[in-house]
Symmetry: C2
Subunit: 265 residues, 2 copies
């Protein structure tokens, strides 16, 4: 095999391995071999061979019925993603405080491309139902966290969102780009975002930016409450205080309670 | 390239891709290219080529300084692991309840091979410090969750642990296999485990098994409190009730609040 052929084969194998991982979605968390092959666009033989390697390493697991699912080992490695559990660990005490004083829904999210990815949520049992899932995605222009992340995104990202069709989830969703541009300016000026009935008509969300040590906006935190009777002006200081606490925790490092040397892998 | 050569090249590429992921550990969450190559045992050229593919897909990300870290996209896929965030989502309301009524440390863990992997923790701010990290590992024979998981593990797993040297974390750690065997029998009889000063001398943990729908033990939940004055007999019913709630949530599916159809990916 020439070096070139070797390289090309490698590229194709890497993409097939990644395609196998990509076959799993929230609606399809366990797959038969043929489903796995079909969804990842590889032959049955290739799926069988690569899946066996992934199972051996622990990136995939097989259940009692022989169906494939994402493995705990992959989850352990992924837990090291600074924007996933790393961020979540720094934020958790502040999210818990927010939850304890409000018993409402508390959310933590980051921007990935043109969407929000939810990194953590604490759902009040009697709070207004919200449709988020840890690891799930949503559009940037509707939710409290999304508006915060969009308002602080690079200009190119904002232009791309403003230039695309903006889905209306309710009659209150701001789907007109001219109005949305004004909303985003207001979010930057106030330092927080209010999404009032813009995702579901009965929910109001107040989001605030979490700054990284370098001053960039790394994440957004929000409270989601029943829209009826909500007072965003009183919620905003709470959410902003939590965001500042998370910023300190991300920047400091001095308050690390659990010396990592004691954790085995 | 022959089919055989293609297959062999594929195997080696898959293992190199996985080795790159494996290079990241809790002590090394961001790596330069040369660190990445050294830790994964591949050449600089291979690391460069494969890492570029992983970055393109989102399994790795590069920070402002060009260092590699685990990417959010990998975390999103890994969030679909039934034994990771899947379990955690089912358990979270019950863990929150445990936390609210005790303000102590609440932990959720599964067994992976001969170790415990912590899937969730809620740390009481004024509670006794514990050395766990979500995604982190620990030995099976010392913690409350570990004793529960070991007591309910297949006989072969128990024999392997009992036949290996058992590390003493404190003078109270049960490191004698004969005594440990009796402890495990007691755990199965009582339906819960008590680890009193066996990991750190000032902490006491009460763990209970979480049964899957098929009756097997899928996970363990625990409360970790200050050992001084702790009353394991009063804590056990609380922990066991939470474990039963999680079991119902894992078995039922009827109480799913967030219709997955509404979640975009």
């Amino acid at each position: 095999m020439t070096r070139r052929a070797e390289r090309d084969a490698g590229t194709s194998v890497t993409s097939k391995v990644l395609a196998l991982l990509e076959a799993f979605t929230p609606d399809a968390t366990d797959l038969s071999l043929s489903e796995l092959a079909r969804r990842s666009g590889v032959s049955l033989a290739t799926a069988h061979r690569r899946a066996a390697e992934l199972v051996e390493w622990g990136a995939l697991e097989r259940d009692a019925a022989g169906r494939y699912r994402v493995g705990l080992r992959l989850w352990e490695v992924a837990a090291l993603a600074p924007r996933g559990l790393g961020l979540r660990d720094a934020a958790m005490p502040f999210l818990e405080d927010l939850y304890e004083v409000t018993h409402e829904n508390v959310q933590l999210a980051v921007r990935e491309g043109l969407e929000v990815v939810f990194v953590e949520r604490i759902a009040g049992r009697d709070a207004v139902p919200v449709w988020t899932r840890v690891g799930g995605r949503f559009a940037l222009h509707a939710t409290g966290v999304g508006l915060v992340l969009l308002a602080n995104a690079p200009a190119a990202v904002q232009e791309e969102v403003l230039g695309s069709p903006l889905q209306s989830y309710t009659e209150k969703t701001v789907s007109d780009p001219v109005r949305l541009r004004r909303v985003l300016a207001e979010v930057r000026k106030l330092g927080y975002a209010v999404s009032d009935g813009q995702v579901t008509i009965d929910a109001l969300s107040v989001g605030a930016p979490v700054h990284a040590a370098d001053g960039s906006v790394a994440a957004a935190v929000s409270l989601v409450v029943r829209a009826d009777g909500a007072q965003p002006g009183s919620l905003a200081p709470l959410v902003m205080a939590a965001a500042r606490g998370i910023h300190r925790s991300l920047s400091g490092g001095a308050t690390r309670v659990f010396p990592s040397g004691r954790i085995r892998r």
